[in-house]
Symmetry: none
Subunit: 203 residues, 2 copies
Amino acid sequence: MGDNVLDLNLLGVEELACHHEGQSLRPRNPAPFLLKTYNLLEEGEDDNKKIVSWNVDGRGFVVWSPAEFSDLTLPRYFKHSNFSSFIRQLNTYGFKKISSKRWEFKHEKFQRGCKHLLVEITRKKGEPSVFPSYLKSCSEENGMSNSMEVNNNQQILMEENKNLKEERLELQMQIAECKAMEMKLLEYLSQFVDNHQNKVRKL
Amino acid sequence: MGDNVLDLNLLGVEELACHHEGQSLRPRNPAPFLLKTYNLLEEGEDDNKKIVSWNVDGRGFVVWSPAEFSDLTLPRYFKHSNFSSFIRQLNTYGFKKISSKRWEFKHEKFQRGCKHLLVEITRKKGEPSVFPSYLKSCSEENGMSNSMEVNNNQQILMEENKNLKEERLELQMQIAECKAMEMKLLEYLSQFVDNHQNKVRKL
DNA sequence: GGGAATATTCCC
DNA sequence: GGGAATATTCCC
């Protein structure tokens, strides 16, 4: 039965998630965005069906009128009226545009009458990059594999590291010199002061 | 027809911010949150002054009535009516609560009549962690995989690198101070010498 | 107060 | 379509 597979997956995820998510293994809730989008399709009156609705087979949905959808529907479910923000969310959750002629989208786990499948839909995340993007740029230009890139990055880091340490040494020496000079000057100064005072005393 | 919906952005030009700041470049515009919070203090009618206002010296501000502030003020500037979300943003930008008796906050660069200082205020960020934290906590307990170890090495390198850069800055400042002191001493010394020579000439 | 997930915006 | 900055929420 598929349920077993599912449970095993959940356990795996829970282990990775360690301290997050508390203990609640069972009642995973779908992401708010998914629930709202699903509800917006279910709750619409017949009027709204002209704005947005499930497609014929219920395995996708169509925004028939983006303008009205943005102005009327979106603000009732979200904190904005921007069609493009809605699209951005669809992409984030892995929906695909399935028609070039109209705003029709689908996701395997987003189907009419299958609210329970929503929990299966997760945000796409770019692999947490090992590296800040500013370091990536140089290796992207040459064709590099991931592991080459990691190596390359590490190389760069170590080089920079070595240079920084040399620089540190140099700076520390400068400071030492500076301090020495300071001492010398202070000595001179105190001699002059003594000298001066002696002269004054003599007069 | 509905095409231009995509381009509509009703939120206003002032929200545009510079997203690519090189290391030395500051964003030209203050963060939207800061501008809105500033404006909300400037634009208030006398009525609103009973809800939220600058404090006496204009170096901080007070939310006199959190309830009204949340219900009336917040939604006019933000996409929510939650006082706690507002507070979260204040903390993100480094504001400090300066009274235990009332909701009074301050930030060095947030002052009445000093809109231009807002660009100096930046979001506090924990270093972008190389590693998702849910993996971090686990890797301490378990043995690490190869790729995790590589990541770990890089993280260490980056940490060391960052520390070295901070150290460099510190050393450079010490040198600057040292040089300044040197100049001052030399000045004193030359004054004494002049003085001394004058005295000698007099004799 | 702040870490982290999710949402919204902006830009390429 | 997606990366990344900022905003909002949720939770400790």
